[in-house]
């Protein structure tokens, strides 16, 4: 019943309540009384009073039954087991890689060659390659991811939003070997023209320079552009873009409707509203999603392995043939490795592990500290 139909003076004043309770025809005031009592119970003031030590509050303790104690023990044990396994990952890599690390010392991070059996090995080349592939992939993936997330949350017709969301989520679950096949057989033959075009017109930028390619030579072979960092990065970008998109979309859709409407009511265009409400609100999610994508890009193995032709030198020219990454190195060399080489590979794996761990920690901290809160599942 709403306020207008209440009898005048039938509420608020306790005397009136006492009086009206005598008339059985009017049922409203008793209801009111109940809600008032409920409000009193629920308001903080009562609880605060109860919390003060002199109010004689009873101490509530529970004594768990045997069943409950067993249950707690088992679930605590499961948590401990998982924690142990996860910690062992780092620990075992450290133990196994220690032998190689102690031989190589700090040179492990500065040597470009990979020949552990002669003692001349290090991860400088593969580390640089890993970072270069991941960063190029992120540079390509972030505009795609932001645009797709904005499209799904702001521009797409309501009817197809759910479908698009499902498609993007599905693409995040497609096996990496499938992306690798696509990159190897469809993308690589078709992208050479683009690589050539970029290096012809943007070759003066050091990153896009290609040694051994003369743009004025009409007979120049495009084979110098195959198996490059650029091609691997495109494939990795397509692989991580759905992950980043799905996090960004989640955050964008949470942008408060009141603030959106306020911006529109003040005369903002759609983009004006997005720039002043949606993007600031979703900044944490955008950074976090990008970093999660970066973490995935750093660890990608099979797609990179299928595309690159491995070199053991720092290769800063992303369009040129030849690249390498830590995970591809491990996949390439583990098979016919001597025990010492295995140890060196473990050390390389440890470096990759620590790197992705830092990126992931950073991502989860940024996401959870942001206004939109933890929304990265």
């Amino acid at each position: 019943m709403n306020d207008k139909t209440r009898p005048p003076g039938g509420q608020g004043n306790p005397d009136d309540i006492e009086e009206t309770r005598l008339i059985p025809v009017v049922a409203v005031p008793t209801d009111l009384l109940a809600t008032e009592i409920l409000e009193l119970i629920l308001t903080d003031s009562v609880i605060d009073q109860a919390d003060t030590p002199d109010s004689g509050r009873r101490r509530l303790t529970t004594r768990a039954s045997t069943q409950d104690r067993i249950f707690e023990g088992i679930s605590r044990g499961a948590g401990t087991l998982v924690l142990t396994i996860m910690s062992l990952v780092g620990l075992f890599l450290l133990i196994q890689g220690n032998q190689a690390l102690s031989v190589a010392g700090f040179n492990f991070f500065t040597t470009e060659a990979w020949d552990p059996n002669s003692g001349n090995f290090g991860i400088a080349a593969v580390l640089a390659g890993t970072i270069l592939i991941a960063v190029t992939a992120i540079v390509l993936a972030v505009p795609l991811a932001v645009a797709t997330a904005l499209y799904i949350s702001e521009y797409a017709p309501l009817a197809i939003r759910q479908v698009l969301t499902s498609i993007v989520d599905l693409m995040a679950a497609v096996p990496s070997v499938v992306y690798g096949l696509w990159g190897m057989f469809l993308l690589e033959p078709n992208i050479l023209g683009v690589s050539q075009w970029i290096s012809t017109y943007c070759g003066w930028i050091p990153v896009f320079a290609v040694t051994g390619f003369d743009p004025n030579d009409p007979l120049a072979s495009p084979t110098v552009f195959t198996a490059s960092t650029f091609i691997a990065a495109i494939v990795v970008a397509l692989m991580v873009a759905p992950i980043a998109t799905s996090i960004m979309r989640e955050v964008f859709t949470q942008a408060p409707i009141g603030e959106r409407e306020a911006a529109l009511a003040l005369g903002a265009t759609k983009w004006g509203m997005i720039r002043s409400v949606v993007l600031p609100f979703g900044r944490g999610g955008m950074i976090g999603g990008t970093m999660l994508g970066l973490g995935r890009a750093l660890g990608e193995t099979i797609a990179v392995y299928l595309i690159i032709s491995p070199v053991f030198a720092v290769q800063p020219h992303i369009l040129e043939k030849g690249s390498n990454s830590i995970s591809a190195l491990i996949a390439l060399r583990y098979n016919e490795a001597s025990p010492f080489e295995i140890s060196a590979l473990m050390a390389a794996g440890l470096a990759l592990f620590v790197m992705t761990l830092f990126v992931n920690f950073g991502a989860s901290i940024i996401i959870s500290k942001s206004r939109s809160g933890a929304s990265s599942d």
Binding site: K4, T5, V25, V26, V28, A64, Q67, F71, E72, I74, S75, R76, A78, G79, T80, L81, V82, L83, M86, L88, V89, F92, L93, Q96, A147, T148, L150, I167, L170, A173, V174, P175, S176, V177, V178, L181, W182, F185, N190, G193, W197, L238, T269, K270, G272, L298, G299, E300, T301, I302, L306, I330, A331, Y334, L345, G349, T356, N360, S364, D377
Partner: protein
């Protein structure tokens, strides 16, 4: 007709809606969305101009070659023309808005197109191998690289994937869900540590998981490369994913349901078993299915731990075993077209499995905790109705018994007159 009590009239007076005489004529509804004629003209005109200029540049000036370059140049020209055309009539913010809208649409279109290309390309190339029935019923033991597609298949990969994922699920589902229950039921500093570590491990590079199992199980325990070792590696990959999504789902279970169970005197264990887990069942299933989809597609951990074989091996504890992604990887490393076709075929089978799993996850997990399927709802209604009948029957029999008792008493004291209001 009895007179109506006046108090009732005072209380339940009808609500009056004030009538504004000025608004009696219905105001036509204003359309706030939609396209104006100018918008359509600007869009079509600049599109036409961009395509025309780009093809002139390509065919007459030879400024660039190739389809991709044509699209890029045409798109840049389109944006330019569109900005100019809109700018003739509109203000700067509107021009920026239109340009950004164009950019967002085209970038997301590129992304969705690329994703569609990945799927269709895999199925298109894989069809060649999938069309042969022997692809699903034979392994590669009797087929060499040069044999036609009518010999050999990926049975070994399919069986291997099935065995590995079953073992991985048998380990990771109980452990993962138990851990998620621990995280949500016993919050505290220790649970926070576990949760942080699990979250950091969600994006564990798959090759590191493989390397870990290689270091512990194969080098440390001396077990040969086998399906079991690969399952362990996949488990290490899947566990954090399952725990994390299960934890999110369990935290969504409404607190009042649990409190109701506690208030009825249920123990913590019974509350989890009869309230929390059934309520979150669909979400937990989704968590497991998504973890499975990730685990089933991983190549690198299996590459390091399972070894490579062309034979069907059903024993996970001895001898190498391949999974579908590993088989794909091995096939496409060969230069022979037949092997590459087989690689695409097994990739297509793998995609199909992932698609089905994902579809399952959508069907099961589309509902939040507590929402029921129609079947489940019918079942609950039926059981509730049955209970109701049971109570009703009990009440009726109790009533009859009491009436019989009373009738008995009445016959005994038949001389006493019956009380007037004793009907209850």
């Amino acid at each position: 007709m009895p007179p109506i009590p006046t108090t009732l009239l005072n209380v339940v007076s009808p609500t009056r809606v004030p009538v504004n005489s000025e608004l009696l004529i219905a105001e036509p509804r204003r359309a706030t969305g939609g396209l104006r004629r100018n918008d359509v003209f600007a869009l079509a005109g600049s599109l036409l101009a961009a395509v025309a200029l780009a093809s002139w540049l390509q065919n007459q000036l030879f400024a660039f070659q190739g389809m991709l370059a044509f699209i890029l140049v045409a798109h840049a020209l389109f944006m330019l023309f569109y900005a100019v055309l809109i700018g003739l009539t509109e203000s700067v913010p509107v021009v920026v808005d239109k340009l950004i809208t164009t950019l967002v649409h085209s970038l997301s279109f590129v992304m969705l197109l690329a994703l569609a290309a990945v799927v269709t390309f895999t199925f298109g190339r894989g069809w060649e191998a999938l069309a042969h029935a022997n692809f699903f019923t034979q392994d590669m033991s009797n087929a060499g690289p040069l044999d036609p597609l009518t010999a050999g298949g990926v049975l070994h990969g399919m069986a291997g994937t099935l065995i590995m994922i079953s073992i991985a699920l048998a380990i990771s589902v109980p452990l993962g869900i138990m851990t998620a229950v621990f995280l949500s039921e016993f919050p505290g500093r220790y649970a926070a540590v576990v949760r942080t570590v699990v979250e950091a491990m969600t994006a564990l590079p798959s090759i590191v998981a493989g390397l870990f199992i290689y270091a512990t199980v194969i080098l440390g325990l001396g077990i040969e490369r086998s399906g079991f070792a690969a399952s362990c590696a996949v488990t290490v990959m899947m566990l954090p994913i399952i725990i994390r999504s299960a934890d999110v789902v369990l935290r969504l279970v409404p607190g009042n349901l649990k409190e109701a169970a506690f208030a009825l005197g249920s123990s913590r264990w019974r509350t989890v078993w009869t309230v929390t887990l059934p309520t979150a069942r669909s979400g937990l299933t989704t968590a497991v299915v998504l973890g499975t989809a990730r685990g089933i597609g991983e190549t690198s951990p299996v590459l390091l731990t399972a070894g490579l074989t062309t034979f069907l091996n059903l024993n996970p504890f001895s001898g190498p075993m391949v999974s579908l992604p590993l088989a794909t990887f091995a096939f496409v490393k060969s230069p022979e077209p037949g092997m590459i076709a087989r690689g695409f075929g097994s990739a297509a089978v793998l995609m199909l499995v992932v698609l089905v799993l994902f579809w399952l996850a959508r069907v099961i997990g589309g509902r939040g905790p507590g929402q029921l399927t129609p079947r489940h709802f019918r079942r609950i209604t039926a059981s509730s109705r049955a209970l109701n009948y049971r109570y009703l029957a009990r009440d009726v029999s109790a009533h009859r018994a009491s009436r019989a008792l009373r009738a008995d008493g009445q016959t005994r004291r038949s001389s006493e007159p019956r009380a007037k209001g004793d009907r209850s």
